[in-house]
Symmetry: D2
Subunit: 337 residues, 4 copies
């Protein structure tokens, strides 16, 4: 940690800062520069939050050197985390595809889409039973019935199931019906939900919040891991920017940034990022080229009947076509599908 | 709702869009322009979500005309909502001040700060017992014990108490200890929490999310009101932008925008927005000048001992000084404090 | 254009809006909805700027239907623009690569890098002689001497030269030394410079501004085309967002969005977007997968001696490696390199 | 400057960084921490740009301690800069008001508005003769004729004139007709224009770019001052964010941030920031409460006839009313108008 004092800081203020560092069991290293005093703090700075020194008189700025997360970091674990769910391994050479409708609507439609995506090569079925909707008047999901349909679809097709949790009180339902629990962008900093999910032994996919930095995403993943659950994968799904031509801006550089900072697998969801069918395929291809460990895609056999987000769902035939192209890109970057 | 078709839309596609509008009980109004067909939809467009038409082939864009919220809107209720809590009226001529520490730490410190802010003219005591922290290793709040200290502080000082809820399972504790329940920025789209809080008869202050638009804030307030609770106030606390000189960018124009669109009271929290003591006072003054119904401020008798956000807390003596200045500004804009 | 009146708009105000539309030679189409009057405007709405109606009493909102640009639009010209510069064709099946140092430094270093990038397959040499630098104390470029070195490098290697213009007074130098004139992100809305460059017959690459929407980028390209110059290509180089892990956020979805809206070629510059060497290669691959017509890359034989942006320059050996990978990705998406 | 090495940095890499620091005449201070080596650089770090060390192998991060600007900084000059233009003093106790139409349209209309704003207490007349417009098809300003009208308006009313420059080739016209030269947001990083304007002895108002940080604004002001012109004032006019309810987001905290970092006067332009008449008055009041040295406002006698930005212009009668309110706020914060 580097503590920059104000040019007008008094000797007393400087001493108080030094005392606070020493109290915390850390070693202060004082440097008197041309314009001001700078103090380097040696030791594990995480025992002393940056807020504490920032609040002291005479302090201008506090710059952490170490990352604030541990368990998720590449320094803590050098090799990639691989999550194995009944033989489907996420975080290895194979790029996995999760596909399905935005929300579970009717049993027939879910089964039909599940068959379609399985035939095209997807390994995991996505579908929301609990839907976080901006408006209270939009379709909120089928709830438990939707989860049961997903379980049936798994039995019929052999696909794994990923579905979203919105409330810590739904954990037992999730344990019963989901193979991967998704935490959505709007709940990335719902810390109670993170801790709850972290206390079970079930793979979790944590989506990046609309305006969350990569650092904050990793800290939220740290909540889950600190609670005991090591089977965490991350998901880039677009961030909010000033541009309105797309729903969000897909931040593909986050894939590499996360790979450098963390050992956790990283999935990309281009459907939610761009919000328009025409843009999904190019962004899915770009995501594989950028090194994503998996792709999550919305597929619907009849997008205009979809209860939500129909404008971003691929038709099964377009999904099949895209899968063939993704396979070629995966091979071009020494991966497989 | 205005539906803009693609220039290359076929007659069949146009007819399918018209049929979908008619099915929903709305009246399509077809206009053939120079380059494309545009269809105006007459009737209460909210029965037909914009997603449904967007997903149809041949549709380029769907532009809603009506606001997607109802109960919170100025059109639904012309006169301002005034929330009366034991005689403290929020949303009227008087600008109310909520002040106190970021988090409840020790009983003694809380009581001392409570006395200080009461003496200076605050009517409501703020203090977090459950703290949403970016890192799992930061202080997470005293929990129930913190709520009990707040209740005792109310008894001692006569101040009302506002404190944050993070988990729907904590509602009974909140009903017992809080006069106003705060929903924090990170939970603005925790829809389960909104619905839970909406089903009780207790005033709520809903903070704007870091990257939430005013429209989304109003839709989240609509969740609470739609569940039955009409005692809702909103809070602007800074949005996330590219600027790093301040923690967030306080969007004061939101005060007037919200006043135009909604009848709900609007509070401003400059402490969290700017994140640095020196900037709090000017922004508090600007907020009153801009027409805020209330100001929320962090005050701490010993900021460097604060367990969180000490760098943005005012000293009691600076708070007293600021209160005197705010009173003058309030009078200059025909309000009072 | 759709004009939405306020709920409280008077009949007189409505009539005045109708009169203004009629005066402009357009046809108003009045629809009385449940809550308000909406007027659709039939005809080429571009004769009546949206500002004029927005300023009238009783008007709440004005929504344009037609795009505000013409010459750059896909509707104006269906087939892709292909720019042919001495046989190098930009905007066709072949993905072109522009590579070289951020700025021209010494003649020897430029020549050496030019040889390196040519050997690796680049067709165009990049290098700045006039450098837009945030600080007046940073290296500002060699100026005319730098342009002369670029001309010599072209003679020696046969590479085309792209270099940046910052001042309309430098046009004659550019005509002499550049094959493609670059307008940088910071000058995207330097309208005098756009018009000046538009009045010459020389290919131009226009970079997207740090906070420019795709629509604004296209309007700036329209300035150049409206002045007579049809040889325009666009460049995505990252936009400014809240994320600080990368210098900017590369918006790859803009590639497809631009392809849909416009017939102009689109180049991607990952080096400036991400600002860190390690991230350049994955983003270059993603850009080719997303459909870019060209890639611009910084290459430097000795990055720590670079006068600017050394932290994002590839070593020649890494550039060669990347070229081989890009070629495979290009083939996977039915392009070539 | 603090140089953070990568955990895996070799001894050789560390030595090379140390050598580079020493070569530049600075003193390296090496600290071996728990996870990595950190080097503090003692001396005037500005002689060694952060880019150079960032580009070296083994370096993870370079954090500057000193601000990159000098002449504009509060450290360089403790007391506020006061710009005196024929007795109108900007940067002192009096809050100055600049008002007038967005663009100069007809002589009669300009004179009428000039009389109106003078009567209401404005000291400076604003009006554009050269207009930076997003579209090449929008009104571009009257050019030299507009400047002549402004000169006549000055003679008739005694108001000072502020008007925008877009092209370095127009400096002689500006010297003749303007009392203050405005550099608009889109030209904030048009470095040639900054240097040109800096080489004359004429007050300049530099507007913050739509996505410029305060640091970048100060660096652009440094360009002007480094070229010799010390009469510089800054202007906050809203930044681009994700919020679309207002045209831009007025960043009022920038007023205090700039006052802390710099001695230059700071003006606020709420008209361009919010883009809607109803929001201008509350934001003007907030700006005065926040400590602005001046306010720039658009006033038009007939907004729907305005050639640009009519939707944000105040009517003369509303401007008079606002001036009375601003005066009261100014007094409440110990200023005057």
């Amino acid at each position: 940690m580097i503590v920059v004092l104000k040019p007008e800081a008094t000797d007393l203020q400087t001493e108080q800062v030094i005392a606070k560092i020493t109290e915390a069991g850390l070693t202060p290293h004082v440097m008197k520069g041309v314009e001001r005093v700078v103090i380097a703090v040696i030791g594990d700075e995480r025992v002393l939050g940056p807020d504490i020194l920032s609040a002291m008189s005479g302090v201008q700025d506090v710059m952490p050197i170490l990352s604030p997360y541990k368990l998720v970091s590449r320094e803590f674990q050098k090799e990639n985390t691989v999550i194995d769910i009944q033989g489907v391994r996420i975080g290895e050479r194979r790029v996995v595809v999760m596909a399905g409708p935005c929300s579970v609507e009717t049993k027939e439609r879910l089964f039909s889409i599940a068959e379609d995506v399985k035939m095209a090569g997807a390994l995991i079925l996505r579908g929301g039973a609990f839907k976080p909707r901006t408006s209270p008047y939009s379709f909120q999901g089928l709830g438990e019935e939707g989860l049961e349909f997903l379980s049936e679809a798994r039995t019929k097709t052999g696909l794994l199931v990923i579905t979203e949790i919105m409330d810590p009180r739904d954990m037992s339902l999730m344990m019963k019906h989901a193979d991967i629990i998704q935490i959505g962008a709007r709940n990335m900093q719902n810390f109670r939900l993170l801790s709850e999910v972290g206390s079970y032994n079930k793979p979790v996919m944590l989506k990046r919040g609309l305006s969350a930095t990569v650092k904050e995403l990793l800290l939220s993943a740290e909540y889950i891991m600190a609670a005991g659950n090591r089977q965490v994968m991350l998901c880039e799904r677009g961030i909010r920017t000033f541009e309105t031509a797309t729903r969000n801006t897909l931040d593909l550089s986050a894939v590499t940034v996360i790979k450098q900072l963390s050992h956790l697998p990283i999935i990309v969801d281009p459907s939610h990022a761009v919000g328009k069918t025409d843009l999904v395929a190019p962004m899915a291809k770009a995501a594989v080229a950028a090194g994503a460990d998996g792709i999550m895609l919305e597929v619907h056999s009849n997008p205009e009947l979809a209860y939500c987000d129909g404008e971003q769902a691929l038709l099964p035939k377009d999904f099949r076509l895209l899968m063939a192209q993704l396979k070629k890109i995966a091979e071009a970057v020494d991966r497989e599908m």
